[in-house]
Symmetry: D2
Subunit: 296 residues, 4 copies
């Protein structure tokens, strides 16, 4: 690990937020000046039992709705007002299904989490002692869409297509966008929309490759998101298990957001925007479902 470029120690030996440290008030203030239309976008897909990407080992997301119109035990106190009541839900879901953010503790390599914390700081009941999703705090900054699918003139990249460094830089040039340190970069493959329209299978999936990931590290981005299930291509490039996850999450403290809904941004040719992400503060969690909000 010693020769590898990493961000370990860059923000202190105790840091658990990684590249989110780039999101200074100055960066946020600059990002407030990016929007041009004032249109707001919700960049997530539905959470439901069917029709959305999921892996069997994660079970099926379930919402179970309880209503107290005939169930007095459910309310604090009904007071007997006829026709008045409330409904609530229970949710049972994997944190890494649907649109979600990976905490830095989601992956480890050489038995180490980001910043060198031992991987056994993640345990089944108490969860992550280090680098959990509860450590990310408020996320806001300049979002940049790198719409690779549109730049290549396709609806959706080929299954298994590995996005190269050159495809990223070509797309940016095509769009007229220049990356800056602290950018929240969202990569569009077209996959998730095509999957929900039943035009492609769950596997393989297009996504970035190792050299594209290295490029994003060099540009000093704060987050990488994508409209696929793993940001990186599946199967993994050259068979390197979780290769881009390791480079981004573990080595460089760059959080990932997966299964994002990016088609509406693409339709509007909205490549730069203010982006906010509100991860649920689940204590010790390795990730969180999210609905990032973009303002174009």
């Amino acid at each position: 690990m010693s020769e590898k470029k990493t961000s370990w120690g860059r923000w202190g030996t105790d840091d658990e937020r990684g590249a989110l440290n780039l999101l200074t008030p100055e960066v946020v203030t600059a990002a407030l000046g990016v929007p041009t239309t004032g249109k707001a976008y919700a960049l997530s897909i539905p959470i439901q039992r069917t029709g959305v990407p999921n892996l069997p080992f994660r079970g099926v997301p379930q919402r179970l709705t309880l209503t107290n119109h005939d169930d007095e035990q459910m309310s604090i106190s009904n007071g007997g007002v006829p026709g008045v009541g409330s409904s609530e839900d229970m949710l049972v879901m994997a944190s890494h299904t649907s649109t979600h953010m990976d905490a830095l503790c989601h992956v480890y390599a050489d038995n180490k989490l980001y910043n060198g914390f031992p991987h056994d700081q993640v345990a089944p009941y108490s969860g992550a002692q280090r680098c959990g999703i509860d450590k990310v705090g408020a996320i806001a900054g300049r979002g940049v869409l790198i719409d690779v699918a549109s730049a290549l003139g396709v609806d959706v990249l080929e299954p298994g297509h590995i996005i190269s460094r050159t495809e990223l830089t070509d797309t940016l040039r095509h769009q007229g966008t220049a990356l800056e340190p602290g950018d929240l970069v969202l990569i569009r493959t077209g996959w998730v929309g095509a999957f929900m329209d039943e035009r492609v299978a769950i596997h393989p999936q297009p996504g970035i490759g190792l050299d594209a990931a290295a490029y994003l590290v060099e540009q000093d981005v704060a987050i990488v998101g994508a409209d696929n299930s793993a940001v990186e291509a599946l199967p993994f490039e050259s068979g390197v298990y979780l290769g881009c996850h390791i480079m981004l999450l573990v080595d460089n403290g760059i959080h990932l957001i997966e299964n994002m809904a990016l088609d509406e941004l693409a339709q509007d040719n909205c490549h730069e925007f203010l982006l906010t992400v509100g991860a649920l503060k689940v204590t010790g969690a390795t990730g969180s479902p999210v609905t990032p909000i973009a303002i174009g």
Copy 2:
């Protein structure tokens, strides 16, 4: 219901978003000019088994973390790389615990949801056919903190204190803030912080009363949030079961956000800000846990 002031029909007979329709691109664009410091705030409290407000009938929020360092069945394919692995979670939680947003379908009165939809459009398995949380879309606008606790010079309002219309207007005058149509109004009682510090009990709780709610309706706000469990005071003012919920959610299509973390905004005297809310798109759900993001 006929004589009551309501917003039913104001945005069309099929509308399921209520006052969120006020958040036009113009309103959002104006809100982008509000921040002065660029500091971002995550306005939620933790989701965890203990130490946070919860009601017994909602069970206990549980995060169960699974790690594949010794569990090959969990991964897509490990490829046998020693020392490399990933961890994920299952979440089991009520949608209306911790910091959460109420969907318009959360409450009904006279057997009707907002806009007159019949209350039986909410069912246990299929959830809400109308006015579910999946209908809210992207939320962004100008946030306004009405810090009643600070204006009254207290850490936390008395248990059961019913905030009046006058207390709201006095606080706004004290702060030098003027409400505008489409504002996302957050009311600070000091309660949730005091509860987590074990200085107050779960019940009773300070919150707004019926006349304060009527004032917010008159001001044409888009959302009302608070740092307590029901926005309105508990027990309900004059014993009117869910009185403010009915006036805001049902009659006027104003979504609520509860158990918000507002102390940091108060400490910074940050009373106006950009606010974004990314509700999870849980199909048919009556609410969603959220971490709203403010930029001051």
Copy 3:
């Protein structure tokens, strides 16, 4: 409903146990004399994520195992003994998946449960006020296997095959078994074993028809179980929605047990046995997963 033969009132107007009332100490004592080999059988199939009958709306049964070998928060007090620890599970599952017993409240007709209780005595949060699984108590009696598949010389009945009254009586004659009041009758179609071996699909399924159900009612049996998902054939005979469920559960208070594992009994030609069923006492539940125990 007035002309229909029912057991309503037979055991009192408040009765919630139905035909289980037939299981008197005398009947149980007689059943103790039935076994001839002393071999015990566990008549259930596995509860697991895949490979067993399930319907999508029930989600996927999940077991999530927590181990405290690296998680001190999980134990009452570890005391620091190296190498000592414990593991536990969380279960998330539908009550009506895998091998399970239907409570009498599971189905209603004419808006009535068994014994005429109104169907709205079952509510989402508080569950069943009447005829819940928590009312069944201890179940023991003489079990009788009616092995229709073997009697017809097949491994598994045809998909959708509707077992007739005559097929039941022919099978009993073939086996040399005579039914008695209070018998716990288990009907073998061969289906569940064939399904788990991937030789048949989830639908359609062989099972009893309306006349066979009427025969079992006439014989005054205490329970009907089967090695399929609904005891009755799927699709329902003549399209009568839940026809046999209504006749057995609702009209006559006869509990059902579904997805039973009956192949081992069949292989041993064990047609009469002592049978015990220990339903979990889930307060207000409409059913329970069970592992019935037979002694041959």
Copy 4:
């Protein structure tokens, strides 16, 4: 471990059932002759949100009932029959709450499970590869109640009372019961009933001590159950973490059943009976909720 008396290897090096191997057809046949009254007992307590023993880390058992009287998506096909419908539940619960059976893999010592299997054969997602509850099969045999509380003339033993070897043998003599190899021994402290009546706290609890456990091993029993949460006393005798669990489960392959309802047997002076236990076949689970059935 080498000098300690264990049952490792006694039933083969691959054995995962331990002392359940004692339950031969001969033993079961003999047990069928034990009952004298034919009265059946369900030896479990309720599974519900409140009022029953539970530990916070296990969350709250939840039953969520879904009914399709107004929810067509829940049914296979309703066919539009007015007034006909069904209700089901989802269960979310810890396997080791309420009345439950510990699998042999529930505890390990010296990093070993029963029979020397490595403790890391238990993993969060795939569960127990060895000694899981899915390995126990059908359980039937002679049950013996050792009613220590009644023999000592008390309703409930003192909190934390450690039952000694002598108290067991004195109670057996008092009852006129002689233990035999393969007995399913149930020890009554009076605790669970007192807890549910709010007469004692969750902790400490009376239970057996190390010498009593050694006695039961010497008697070659097949199972040990009790009406408390851990069979052994809490806090653990001499502070030995899980001492009796280790001796019984790990060293000698004797399964445990906890939080049993034994008061009705005691009231009837029923000290010998046929006992059956139907553990749910949850693949890889470390335990199962159960309702054991006794016939007196």
